[in-house]
Symmetry: C2
Subunit: 335 residues, 2 copies
DNA sequence: CTGAAAGCGCTTACAG
DNA sequence: CTGAAAGCGCTTACAG
């Protein structure tokens, strides 16, 4: 069906070895035969079979990417940059949405192992789990595994982590500076990343609001859950005047609810999100957000992989600093 | 390095053929030897090499997905559903962000051809182009190619198209019903899909506003371009009281600009977006949007592929009806 | 029920 | 500069 190296060899009256040499642009082929073969190759639209090639060279030029849900705003971007970058280096990405259910993860790791991927990228702190670590040790013990925003201890694992904990403490400091009396923290699901943010919030409270009753809640993932939780919270504690949400997406929903409740942002309630997503510029009012540098995390992941694949060493764990981007959902600092 | 079928065969004192039979769960193996081999397989964490397997079975179980930019809100979702569904059927996705520049597309098609993908999904009307059609005919003439929201005529090409043209005409009808005097249409880039929307808008104008000066503009892709275009338009034609944006994302920016200009939505200006994205529920006010059924388009694409791969026939081109979801950015219909 | 053999499409020493 | 041969890890008739 497909034209092979042997077909071309026959037409050119040479051996397959010679054709292989010109396909791979190697030396030791006379200019005339090279030209003749090149012409044939082009005429017949020859395309080498990567599977066959990989079988002998023991390389697939494929890299696995695991993500719970590519629709998650902060991860879509990461996947985009990773794919573009890797593609530029001649690699293809095998991307799987694994869901949050750990049971299913092993299946995907095994599947990627069958395909002989050369490296694995895990997108999200959620993969910082024993299930995943064990699956890796079982099925992919010999290739580099890079975790974006997470880390676990395995000989072939590397972590690049955004320092969200310190970042959220900084958010509390900002609220304090701008006159907020009673800040709270609302997060969707419990992931290692969200727990870090929560710790950062509690540390901030401890430092700037030593006598405050700490309120840090897990409020679910659906639009309805988040809206309801915000509404109930504001009704129960009407004096709340600062909310840090674990993600911009939640904060967007929060802004809507506050508008519906007639609470002005930032005059009555200040709001801070996390991710510095594109939507933080679009909300009304625009959203102050903690930039957790996910772009840098992704890019570093790619750089690590390229380095490891070429035999270099890279640090096992790396921490990237965050930065608050101030917009209209928080008050200016008192002079 | 990796344990092969031959290693297992040696340990079990059988031939590779027999091991292959139990790996593939085929008949003609005595229960005792099967059990013995199964045990060995498990103990050694045997994982078959898909490349080797594919080489002989002439199948890769991989499907290519081409998209200009996975971050585009309406496409992220499509990719998500496609990957999940295909994965459930035992296929892996090779996803590439090709960018909008046609020159680079051929490269990706060739790359996918090397990997011997069994089908190709093109996400977005932009691929409805001669460049792509020719690349397909050259490098992938024998596998099913399904275009989401586009179509071109090739023996192996199938299109699933959202009837956005009629949908936008319906949007104009809605504006007419709700008392809008002067509607305009703003789109970002010129893609076949956007041109269809524009045609739908012009048809609507022609029908409901026969004497209106038709204003349908291409206003660029960046946040700044879109904001500036909306601002200038409102200053130049202050009597505009209805805007249809080619995507919800643009409409979100539009809402911000209108708020900044002190124009009330929907009282002063009605706004309609397209895609019915998650953000249409989050904006202030919530956004009336044309649901172009991209979920159905994606799902149909997968179903088509599965059908074609199992030898069934499917229609070459399919049209899916759209639906307006009314929210707070348009006025209620006068009784 | 089992194994020897050929072959999928390629690359890579090795010999000439 | 060129080709014959072996081998990558698997499956699949075929013979027994």
């Amino acid at each position: 069906m497909q034209v092979t190296i042997y077909d071309i060899a026959k037409m050119a009256n040479v051996s397959a070895s010679t054709v292989s040499r010109v396909v791979n642009n190697k030396a030791n082929v006379s200019p005339k035969t090279r030209a003749r073969i090149l012409k044939l190759l082009a005429e017949h639209n020859y395309v080498p079979n990567e599977a066959a090639r990989g079988l002998v060279t023991q390389s697939s030029h494929m890299i696995g990417v695991l993500i719970t849900d590519i629709r998650t705003t902060q991860h879509t971007q990461g996947v985009y940059y990773i794919e573009r970058e890797l593609s530029g280096h001649g690699y293809s990405c095998l991307i799987h949405n694994t869901g949050r259910d750990e049971e299913n993860w092993v299946h995907y790791v095994q599947e990627l192992s069958q395909r002989k991927i050369e490296a694995l990228i895990l997108m999200g702190s959620i993969y910082q789990s024993d299930t995943m670590r064990e699956a890796i040790q079982l099925y992919l013990p010999n290739i580099p595994v890079v975790i974006c925003n997470g880390y676990f201890n395995a000989p072939n694992a590397y972590g690049i982590v955004s320092d969200e904990q310190t970042g959220v403490t900084d958010c509390v400091a900002l609220l304090h500076e701008t006159g907020c009396r009673r800040p709270v923290f609302l997060m969707n699901q419990s992931t290692p990343s969200n727990e870090q943010k929560k710790q950062g919030f509690l540390a901030g409270l401890n430092r700037f609001y030593p006598e405050a009753e700490p309120i840090a809640l897990e409020i679910g993932n659906s639009h309805e859950d988040i809206a309801a939780a915000t509404r109930e919270l504001m009704e129960r504690y009407p004096d709340i005047d600062g909310i840090v949400y674990s993600e911009d997406d939640l904060a967007m929903i929060g802004l809507r609810v506050l508008a519906d409740l007639g609470r002005r942002v930032p005059e009555d309630v200040q709001v801070i999100g996390i991710n510095n997503s594109q939507f933080s510029r679009l909300s009304i009012p625009t959203l102050t957000s903690l930039d957790n540098m996910l772009y840098d995390v992704s890019m570093t992941a790619v750089r690590h992989i390229m380095a490891l694949l070429s035999g270099q060493r890279v640090s096992k764990k790396m921490l990237i600093c965050t930065e608050i981007v101030r917009r209209d959902s928080t008050l200016p600092t008192a002079p």
